[in-house]
């Protein structure tokens, strides 16, 4: 059992209780969301004590070197002293320069960072609405081509952050952003490999970024981008993606819905995204795969695509874990 000092309080942890859980149980207000090591909103800094390696998995080297850790992944072996990141240390200010609605419940937000920001399209950032509420959003923009960062934010029923973004975030506003994180991005070096990018809802944001990145890098293998939604109103950027497909012979855009009231607009297929994904080729052996969006779908697709022959290390999956998933996992 280790003792952790935070803000003058001493908190006991044990092998089954993460630092985050222990602090929350003591009534400390620690920002958090996915509680699975993905969103990085529970980032803290150790000022004393040994940091378990697992608590730093996925962090940038520069953050590791400064003793940052993820509280949800930290099971201390030894006494430690921790604090929340000092303001300005890991979060940079950004200004909103553009906002528009891509679908009835999807808002596109473009922000301009006020400091150098190095990232790969498809990685995600934590956007902070205030000091306590931060959520992950994936980047659809491409460095070098865009001087802004682009995010697609879906309005989630009773979602605190997404509602704030939809109702209160406007051009000219300044807010803080942290990151980037994640390894779901295009890696040059295998220009002939076929790529399959599949996602639902705002899972399109990282996939759109990755596709543009791959095309810019001159990727030669086939690139299939599959976007699914429950109904046609959930599909967005169809014009842009169709235009990309017209401009690049090796890029295919497939959109699909589960149900439709009226006749389907041209180009949209009726069907489940997993069936269409498995249908792109007789075998997915040798393909590189990117999967983003709702966790349940991402995990299910990952398994099916593995069974269809893709190697585990060739499947990059970014489940958009939320507070609701953290609750499910705890239950």
């Amino acid at each position: 059992m280790a003792k952790v000092t935070y803000n003058g309080q001493i908190v006991d942890t044990d092998a089954d209780t993460s630092l985050l859980e222990a602090l929350l149980a003591q009534g400390c207000e620690i920002p958090n969301s996915c509680r699975a090591g993905a969103c990085q909103s529970c980032l803290m800094q150790a000022t004393k004590g040994e940091i378990p390696a697992q608590a730093q998995a996925g962090l940038k080297e520069t953050l590791k070197a400064q003793g940052y850790l993820l509280a949800c992944r930290c099971y201390p072996h030894q006494d430690m002293e921790v604090r929340l990141p000092v303001s300005g240390a890991v979060r940079i200010p950004v200004t909103v320069i553009e906002e528009d609605m891509l679908a009835t419940d999807v808002k596109r937000v473009r922000v301009r960072p006020e400091a150098d920001f190095v990232y790969r399209p498809g990685q995600y950032v934590t956007l902070w609405c205030d000091a306590r509420l931060g959520r992950s959003y994936s980047l659809a923009s491409v460095p070098g081509r865009d001087d802004h960062l682009e995010m697609h934010i879906k309005l989630v029923p009773d979602g605190r952050m997404s509602r704030w973004v939809h109702e209160h975030l406007h051009v000219g506003d300044r807010l803080l952003l942290q990151g980037p994180a994640g390894n779901c991005f295009y890696v040059p070096g295998a220009p002939q490999q076929n790529l399959l990018l599949a996602g639902t809802g705002t899972g399109l944001a990282p996939l759109y970024g990755i596709a543009k990145d791959a095309l810019r890098a001159g990727h030669q293998g086939d690139i299939y981008l599959l976007h699914g939604a429950p109904e046609p109103s959930g599909l967005y950027l169809r014009e842009e993606l169709s235009a990309l497909a017209r401009a690049h012979e090796n890029f295919r855009y497939i959109s699909c819905v589960l149900v439709s009231d009226g006749p389907l607009p041209e180009g949209i297929q009726l069907g489940a995204i997993d069936e269409l994904a498995l249908g792109v080729a007789p075998s997915l052996a040798g393909w590189k795969i990117y999967l983003c969006g709702v966790p349940q779908l991402v995990n299910q697709l990952r398994k099916k695509i593995f069974l269809a022959g893709a190697r585990i290390n060739d499947i990059y999956a970014d489940p958009f874990l939320s507070v609701a998933d953290a609750r499910k996992a705890a239950a």
């Binding site: 995990n299 299910q300 990952r302 398994k303 593995f306 069974l307 585990i312």
Partner: protein, 121 residues
């Protein structure tokens, strides 16, 4: 003469075998329901533990670990038929790796030797 684990190709062979073995397990109707855990990374790590052990590689599993590790599965009906299926898939995986017939027998014998522990008998 190299030991079994080295003859099979050591850790590299385990890494090569694990995905094919896991694919077989997940698509075999006799046993796939024991492997429904959605966390594939965790499952693959466990399969590596399993393969390293039956390939005769360095591992720390005791009979007691195997009893405890499979108790919840025995409660769900794990039986001799399932062990037979696992040994069969193991053999197929090894054949694909072009392992020698003798070595495949030796691997099966290692798996066989812990049957009672796995089945909590």
């Amino acid at each position: 003469m190299a030991n079994l684990f080295e003859r099979l190709g050591g850790e590299a062979a385990v890494n090569q075998a694990v995905e094919n073995f896991y694919r077989k397990v997940l698509t075999d109707d006799r046993i796939s329901h024991f492997f429904s855990d959605v966390d594939m990374d965790r499952q693959i790590a466990k399969q590596k533990g399993f393969l390293t052990m039956v390939f005769g590689g360095p591992n720390n599993y005791t009979g007691k670990d195997l009893r405890e590790g499979h108790r919840h599965l025995v409660a769900k009906g794990l039986n001799d038929g399932h062990v037979d299926a696992v040994i069969e898939l193991l053999g197929e995986t090894l054949k694909e790796l072009r392992a020698a017939e003798e070595d495949i027998k030796e691997v099966a014998a290692i798996a066989e030797s812990v049957r009672d522990d796995v089945l909590n008998r």
